[in-house]
């Protein structure tokens, strides 16, 4: 037990701890993916698991997402609880049939008789010059498809709690983790994402957003790294006398519309931060959900701070200006007053 609030873990360590915790508790849980066993995950998500649980439950796979994610969907149908890592969300294309035609629909097609307790862990986000096929977010691509839940933590505390909730969910959960928060030195890490993580068992419920800063004048909605842009901009806005409330969605599907509406009813203004492509994104869905609520009065038209509708450039000097940041959130907010 750790009563002390100073057990600081990176998101990478918190994820590894959640996996170890659940593997020890439930013999049906196993982990597969590229470089997840001997290396402990390119993003550090599976550290120490091979030594503790052995190669039968912790498997390095060939570079064939089609094969190992397909295998995982079958394992889940047969009663196991596989956690698979798709190292970069960008490579979903080769295994999407297994994900959205098999895993996502299994429970519906079988009348609820066969569930698919699969967790797909995948890294998202750019900002470190890794090119257009290693830097995408694709939140909306996954959140659009019914039958799958999609979660993304902004802190190590939520990473452990959401991953435990994801593994225990009877249906497929896509667990996204943002590279800018992962705690791997080579990616840089926003220090605020490194938080106290209880050693004991706890879950962060799927489908529940959290107010991470209270304010009365504007609601800033973010998730993953966007929460940190929102918190940075809230600090800057406070100096101008604008009280920003920051809402961390934590789950993208199902969307916690109740929490979004509760906050926007109070503030009357909305800015959404989304580092995925602009059109048809989660930000658009959040704004639409607010705008279609009849009895809700807005003081200004809502806005979104997003990545534009272009493939992500490789050159850092071209990529960086396109990404959302706190300055852009402040500008978008000011324009509403």
């Amino acid at each position: 037990m750790s009563a002390s609030p100073r057990r600081r873990l990176t998101i990478a360590k918190a994820m590894s701890e959640a996996l170890a915790h659940e593997m020890a508790r439930d013999p049906r849980v196993l982990v597969m993916g590229e470089d997840i066993a001997r290396l402990g995950g390119v993003f550090g998500t599976t550290q120490g698991l091979l030594a503790r649980f052995g190669p039968e439950r912790v498997r390095d796979t060939p570079i064939s997402e089609t094969a190992f994610i397909g295998a995982a969907v079958g394992l889940a149908a047969a009663g196991m609880k596989p956690v698979v890592e798709l190292m970069f969300v960008d490579f979903f294309g080769v295994c999407m049939d297994s994900i959205y035609n098999l895993a996502a629909k299994q429970s519906y097609f079988s009348g609820g008789h066969v569930t698919c307790p699969l967790v797909l862990m995948t890294s998202v986000g750019g900002g470190y010059g890794d090119g257009g096929q290693h830097s995408q977010c694709l939140y909306a691509t996954f959140a659009h498809l019914p039958g799958m839940k999609v979660v993304i933590p902004s802190s190590s505390h939520d990473a452990k709690g959401l991953l435990l909730a994801a593994i225990r969910d009877p249906n497929p959960v896509v667990f996204m983790y943002h590279k800018a928060l992962q705690g791997m030195g080579w990616l840089g890490t926003i220090p605020r994402s490194i938080t106290h993580v209880p050693e004991e068992d706890f879950v962060v419920p799927i489908g529940k957003a959290a107010v991470v800063r209270e304010g009365d004048d504007v609601t800033l909605v973010g998730w993953g790294v966007g929460v940190h842009h929102a918190l940075d901009s809230a600090e800057m806005l406070a100096a101008e006398g604008i009280g920003a409330e920051v809402l961390d969605l934590r789950t993208l599907a199902p969307l916690d519309r109740e929490s979004i509406l509760r906050s926007v009813r109070k503030t009357g203004r909305l800015v959404v931060i989304d580092d995925d492509y602009r059109s048809c994104g989660v930000a658009a869905e959040v704004i639409a959900s607010v705008c279609e609520t009849r009895d809700l009065v807005l003081h200004a038209a809502p806005s979104r701070v997003t990545f534009p509708d272009v493939p992500i450039p490789f050159a850092p000097e071209m990529e960086r200006p396109l990404l959302p940041d706190a300055g852009k959130v402040v500008s978008a907010t000011r324009a509403q007053f």
Partner: protein, 76 residues
Amino acid sequence: MTDVEIPAEIVDEGAEGAISVWLFRDGETVVAGDVLAEVMNEKAAAELVAPASGRLTILVQAESPVRRGQVVARID
């Protein structure tokens, strides 16, 4: 005042490691036994533990190379 050194068991003699991430921020109060940082050595990650309690002053930033015995922080 206590120096926080890279202990012998986490970086080999003559080898170079790197602080991958500080888990506490400059100026924060730490307690002896807190894990202060993760240190990469070759391919393994090791933990740097606070030898004393007090206010942390970071002397070597994350992503910087470190050697065995090097003072990377101070606790006052």
